[in-house]
């Protein structure tokens, strides 16, 4: 998580997120929601602050109090979605019970898909749009997701097995394909595929396939 803090403070996100003014925080949430909606409609490149501000019902002055610019706002929007995914995963993991790593992975993926299906604008931002904005973002989320999804009882500092990098690419493009096809609401149907993808580098494809069948 140290990485996350660094990533956010690099982009000036933390300063605004930690602002003490509660009213400002409420408006920040509105702007983030508007940013996701406008980006999902028009893509990041065609998104203007004017439109985001109009949609959020705030003044440009307030916008610039909250964010240094469009990119900072985009990053904050992604960070808000990532935080939401992370807390959904925490809850799912706790519900799955302490004893079964496989059940935890399955529950985590189901949680990510459920949140993404419920917030298609944000999901589009994270899984489709972010590639075009800055491929370094993928690097960041790959690290975060790999850590979240592929955590298993191994000694600390253990390197993930080869193939986890490929697994992230498989998952990202599968989800992006589903969203681009206009089927974001049906993202949860990817659960078996994603269980297979996530487990395969750790358990081998045979066991991963069995787990995918169990998730169906």
């Amino acid at each position: 998580m140290g990485n996350d803090i660094e990533f956010l403070s690099d982009r000036g996100v933390l300063a605004t997120t930690l602002a003490p003014d509660a009213g400002l925080r409420a408006r920040e949430a509105k702007v983030i929601k508007a940013m996701a909606a406008v980006c999902a409609e028009r893509t990041y490149a065609a998104t203007s602050i004017t439109e985001v501000v109009r949609r959020a019902g705030i003044s440009s002055r307030t916008f610039y109090k909250l964010f240094a610019g469009k990119r900072a706002c985009f990053d904050a929007t992604l960070a808000a979605f990532a935080a939401e995914l992370e807390s959904a995963v925490e809850v799912a993991r706790a519900d799955a019970g302490e004893d079964s790593w496989l059940a935890e992975v399955r529950a985590s993926i189901a949680a990510i898909l459920a949140v993404s299906a419920a917030k298609p604008d944000f999901a589009k931002l994270a899984f489709v749009e972010s590639i075009g904005v800055d491929p370094n973002l993928i690097e960041h989320y790959r690290g975060a997701l790999a850590a979240a999804l592929m955590r298993r009882p191994t000694p600390p500092g253990d390197r993930p097995p080869p193939g986890t990098r490929a697994a992230f690419g498989r998952a990202q493009l599968l989800i992006a394909d589903q969203i681009t096809s206009g089927r974001a609401a049906e993202l949860p149907e990817l659960l078996p595929d994603l269980v297979y993808i996530a487990l395969s580098p750790f358990t081998g494809p045979e066991e991963a396939l069995r787990q995918a069948q169990a998730a169906r």
């Binding site: 028009r42 893509t43 490149a45 065609a46 489709v128 590639i131 075009g132 491929p135 993928i138 690097e139 193939g163 990098r165 490929a166 697994a167 992230f168 690419g169 498989r170 998952a171 990202q172 493009l173 599968l174 992006a176 394909d177 681009t180 096809s181 990817l190 078996p192 595929d193 297979y196 993808i197 395969s200 081998g204 494809p205 045979e206 396939l209 995918a212 069948q213």
Partner: protein, 226 residues
């Protein structure tokens, strides 16, 4: 130092690999449309699509503004034409390699090798084909998806060989995703010239979901030996 009056020189031809059949290499700037397309590839790779102005393309191509607008509606149309030329050429190379007779894993390996070799020839071409296209706005995702589906449609042939395919209907996307994303990343990082060295590992990732670890490992070893 005296400066010569600027005479526009034709853009450097965009190099595309050609097979051993002796056709000329590259998209040669024989006519103005091709000159504009080659110039668009060069300036987009250098500045990024969003920073490019039509004036940059005119300067790099030595073609006049009037001619540009006779041929293309705007910068975007010129870019899309350039992108289509590149993608079609890439797919022609991949298709040709894929159709070489032999066992299916070997044909997949040949097709992958053709793609990696094609992308390694010219860094600008690789960047415009895979990375810069994201700058065009809303239609980017659809264009990207169309290419992705061309690849998955090819791989669908392998479903018959695979027991996994019955359980995982999206197996071709699962297989292709690993390779697509890695190629994208390498090009983004300016490492397109080294793409062919990834052939063994990407052969494994591409085949493994279809044929399992052992057969994919065998094909990986053949890629290493080749």
């Amino acid at each position: 130092m005296m400066t010569e009056p600027e005479t526009p020189s034709p853009p450097e031809p965009v190099r595309l690999p050609r097979g051993p059949h002796g056709l000329p290499r590259g998209l040669i700037a024989q006519n103005q449309r091709q000159r504009l397309i080659a110039a668009m590839v060069r300036v987009c790779a250098a500045k990024g699509y969003n920073e490019v102005a039509v004036a940059d393309v005119l300067e790099a191509s030595g073609v006049g503004r009037e001619t540009f607008y006779e041929l293309f509606e705007d910068k975007r149309a010129c870019f899309l034409a350039a992108h289509a030329v590149l993608v079609d050429d890439l797919f022609a190379a991949v298709q040709k390699a894929y159709e070489t007779p032999g066992p299916w894993p070997q044909r997949v390996r040949s097709a992958l090798a053709a793609a990696l070799n094609w992308l390694a020839v010219d860094d600008d071409v690789a960047r415009v084909t895979m990375v810069e296209v994201a700058g065009i706005g809303p239609s980017f995702a659809k264009i990207f998806q169309k290419s992705f589906h061309r690849i998955t449609a090819m791989l669908d042939e392998g479903r018959e060989l695979s027991e996994t395919a019955q359980e995982l209907p999206r197996i071709s996307s699962i297989a292709a995703g690993a390779v697509f994303s890695r190629i994208y990343e390498e090009i983004y990082l300016g490492r397109s010239a080294e793409l062919p060295s990834l052939l063994p590992t990407l052969t494994f990732e591409l085949l493994m979901p279809f044929v399992g670890v052992e057969s994919a490992r065998e094909e990986e070893l053949r890629a290493k030996a080749a």
